[in-house]
Symmetry: C2
Subunit: 311 residues, 2 copies
Amino acid sequence: MSAPIFNRIALIGLGLIGSSIARGVRACGAATEIVGTARSTATRGRVVELGILDQVFDTPGEAVKGADLVVICVPVRTTSAIAEAIASDLAPGAIVTDVGSVKQSVIRDVEPHIPDGCVFVGGHPVAGTEFSGPDAGFAELFYDRWCILTPSEKSTPDAVKKLSAFWQALGSNVETMAPDHHDLVLAITSHIPHLIAYNIVGTVADLETDTRSEVIQYSASGFRDFTRIAASDPTMWRDIFLANRDAVLEMLGRFSEDLSTLQRAIRRGEGEKLFELFDRTRNIRRNIIEAGQETAEADFGRGHTISSGED
Amino acid sequence: MSAPIFNRIALIGLGLIGSSIARGVRACGAATEIVGTARSTATRGRVVELGILDQVFDTPGEAVKGADLVVICVPVRTTSAIAEAIASDLAPGAIVTDVGSVKQSVIRDVEPHIPDGCVFVGGHPVAGTEFSGPDAGFAELFYDRWCILTPSEKSTPDAVKKLSAFWQALGSNVETMAPDHHDLVLAITSHIPHLIAYNIVGTVADLETDTRSEVIQYSASGFRDFTRIAASDPTMWRDIFLANRDAVLEMLGRFSEDLSTLQRAIRRGEGEKLFELFDRTRNIRRNIIEAGQETAEADFGRGHTISSGED
């Protein structure tokens, strides 16, 4: 247990991320009191049942009263509406942050609502699973994962420092990054991979019925990995693509150009060209393993254990 | 242990697949004697060290002498050269099979070399990892995975029956399929996913140096799954794309059309269209889990255990 960094943390949104923060904060003691709210009655009721918050409120305004940290955990395009809804109820000096996968548009839309004396620091815990909702969360979700903070000109160094300590208490490695650079890097590491996964699963969904059922039967050969990615929350991802449109379209353009080159090499039977590309991509994998973001251990798509976060 | 189905099995090629068959056969007792060969001196030496074969020969011709089952485990486009090399040394009545991910071209190139009295049955164990070489193999690789047999007009029912029993002894679920249908289904379940994974990893490899290192740092957000697929053996995959060109180009065309539609929806800010696609792909995932090809259990990219094959 760490010493409490905040007295009272308010979580707006209690899905996979919000409920994982709640569990993590309780496990590590980073805040004395954990309160929050969720849009749907069903989610609020379930969170009460789960007992992972000290108090569940019906509205964002009620939830943020007296909180010195507010974490907005909703789909990216809902963030500014939440900021507007809580503005008049924020305690003086409160720090407001979010967990969205896009940062430029969030900062642009949220900061105008933040009252003087409060401060907004954009945040993005680079962690998740394909599951959604309060039952999907777990305390170790952020353990040994990156959390990127994207301070704006209005973010105070003190707020950034406290928020960094908070995410570190949850087990994350914290980095700060310029918002536009964050959006570009995430476009290629996260947004385009998700878009492609959704796309190929969509292509399969359009196949003739008998072929489609065989595709499902033989999915172990590669397709299965894409379906896992493409099972992520559709609202969250719709918002991400719309909010990070420019960076996504830029990276998608590069991807499509490269795919045309590959397509032509296959059509022309250019074996050496194919080999060269396939060989060179192995180095990227090696770098990722060296960077500690993956183990080299084989994963055969079954028999997984949930990491305890202690490994 | 099952009763031996073959007296002497000869494995031509001792990489991930060949060495896994050797280990699996020894574990389940499907053949009395296991012999084989590999192209490189280093691999042959390593296999002797590992002690997973009863005898290692220097050439394919020597290896197949006296064998009643020959399994060719080499990249697809080398298969016919092996068939030619072993033809005059095959024992009367020997069954010859392969493990390639493309079947039409293999049958077309291999069958002319098979002497009268012997029989070729194309086979494809739908199993693998991103690792290569004799050290990467393990006995349980085929356990609870599909093995697709693609008999041609020349394949005898008796040979198909014995080969089915052999793969079942290794733990596989065996199905037979027409060669052209196999190639189409595998194009979308396996070949296109690999091509796309290679492509996006290649796009990243071409990024400016500083962005690239950040992409590696934040790879946990989706990209990492693609690098695993793109770390597969480059020679094997070059051969697959060249050998299954027509089906791959057909499916790639569909994929690209769909991707253009998505791109346009993002450019135009059509949120409903995006949501609809992202939502509908979840069903495919559900079907895969129901088909037993994956567990619903969360996988956080670390803390994996190697399946014992007993689960």
